[in-house]
């Protein structure tokens, strides 16, 4: 492990922590603008976090220790996920710890804990949200795995850094299977990040919410951690998508100059991606919950189709 590797790992972590709320703020701002509302400031998520961290936490009377520890577990899961996805550089000392399959496992672990915590205090909305989250999760996970396998099949590795390295630095080629996987990935990330066709992150209408219903009982620093974890998850998904489908600009090992250049490139890509997310959210209407399995089933089938096309057309 070189000092440059450690530096880029540290940089990736700090950047994820700092940029994740900014990305959420950026998406919210564009969404408000596109819907003809007056937009909140770009720094609104930071103000929110600041406010929540300074409040006194109120616990439900029957809350167990699981309820108290869950936010910390979820937050660290998301942080680790951000650490192993190559955002700026592929020279990440932490990345051998977890490959693409373990990444999906990390998200699953966070999901299990948030659902358990939601059911822990025993309110009706918590259990309702947890059930719905599980309904979304068990369909989204296989689809996400298949998308990652599409990329793995092309690059013959499940390690995220190797995937990005191979895709970014080999001779430019068009992979039709990545087109299918890209569509599937977009659908999965919309569902996983509680975005509009599946769930509305801003809703407080009790009967339709999924993610909000689960964190309804949380307050103060626990809520802040969960909100931050949600931003980190969005950031992780965006970076994973950018890394697999638009890998250009990610720095290789032992190139400090490229590392400097990688940051503005990443910011540019995230800005475009966030804007497109806001456009998708504005253009689509929220689905009935019973349509969600169909939506995610389609995503799964598309990613399987990607694998099949890969087999038919031969790996480049």
């Amino acid at each position: 492990m070189s000092w440059l590797g450690a530096l880029s790992q540290l940089l990736a972590l700090v950047m994820a922590l700092v940029l994740a709320p900014l990305l959420t703020g950026w998406v919210n701002q564009w969404r408000a603008r596109l819907q003809n509302k007056s937009a909140p400031g770009l720094l609104q998520p930071y103000r929110m976090l600041h406010k929540l961290f300074n409040k006194e936490s109120v616990m439900a009377e029957h809350a167990s220790s699981l309820y108290r520890t869950a936010p910390y577990i979820i937050f660290s899961c998301m942080l680790l996920a951000c650490a192993i996805i190559p955002t700026l550089s592929t020279d990440l000392p932490l990345s051998p710890a977890a490959d693409a399959i373990a990444l999906v496992g990390l998200f699953a672990l966070a999901r299990v804990f948030i659902s358990l915590a939601a059911m822990d205090v025993g309110t009706a909305f918590g259990s309702l949200g947890a059930r719905r989250e599980m309904l979304v999760g068990f369909l989204a996970e296989p689809a996400l795995l298949m998308v990652l396998f599409c990329a793995s099949m092309i690059t013959r590795s499940t390690s995220l850094t190797t995937i990005v390295e191979t895709l970014a630095h080999r001779e430019f080629a068009i992979y039709p299977s990545l087109l299918l996987a890209g569509v599937a990935f977009t659908m999965v990330s919309l569902a996983e990040n509680a975005r509009v066709p599946v769930d509305n992150p801003d809703t407080h209408l009790e009967l339709t919410m999924i993610h909000e219903a689960m964190i309804l009982e949380y307050s103060a620093r626990h809520l802040a951690l969960l909100e931050w974890a949600a931003s980190l998850k969005l950031f992780a998904y965006s970076c994973a998508g950018l890394a697999i489908f638009f890998p250009w600009g990610v720095a290789e090992a032992n190139s400090p100059l490229a590392l400097l250049l990688a940051l503005p490139v990443l910011l540019f890509k995230l800005a475009i991606g966030g804007f497109l997310l806001a456009v998708i959210e504005t253009l689509s209407a929220k689905m009935r919950i019973f349509r969600v399995p169909e939506f995610l089933g389609t995503a799964f089938l598309l990613s399987v189709l990607g694998l099949l096309v890969n087999v038919l057309l031969g790996v480049g």
Binding site: I174, P176, L179, P293, L301, L305, L308, V309, L312
Partner: protein, 220 residues
Amino acid sequence: MIVKFAPQLINLFATLILLLSFAMISQRRIVTLINLFMIQGATLVAASFLLGYATNQPDLYVSGALTLVLKVIFIPWMLHRVIRKLNVRWDVETLLNVPTVMLVGIGLVILAFSLALPVSRLSSSLAGGSLGIALACILLSFMMMITRSKAVPQVIGFLSMENGLIFAATAVTNGMPMIVEFGIALDVLVGVLILGVFMFQIREKFDTLDIHNLEALKED
């Protein structure tokens, strides 16, 4: 530059056509269905032009232009007119169990791919690999005709199957003889015109476009 990437681009277009076939299977709204069919036609046109340019065969330009005029401009325009006149423009078809249909679709794709793999190894053409995709599109459109109960989606299924056929012919043989192309184009045109008349007749007789009404021999 373009010639270097031509095989990859053809494969990309083939995948797009397949993606659109799947989108059509799961689409409930008739207007969107027609628009999807139009996009599929446009992709086919792009693929023929590209293949014509890459292999230096002017025949394929004519074939592409024919597809452009018929499948991207004329037939969608006519279908839009028909659904406006029949007042089914905003019709939403209740599909039976989309996930099951999609699963069967994946099965069909696997079947088509495994059938086409040995054949495409023999083909020396630029885009031999996409034979399997073309075959899958044909089977998927076929399934769409079977699963739909309204007349307009069935017609679109028929036309989309024809798209798959043309693509298969273009991909494997680098284009059919011109006279055959013209024959097929004329067939499709006449077919659509006749089916259009049929739709009006079905509507007049039963007040609906649901073709289940045609299954009974006499009215009860």
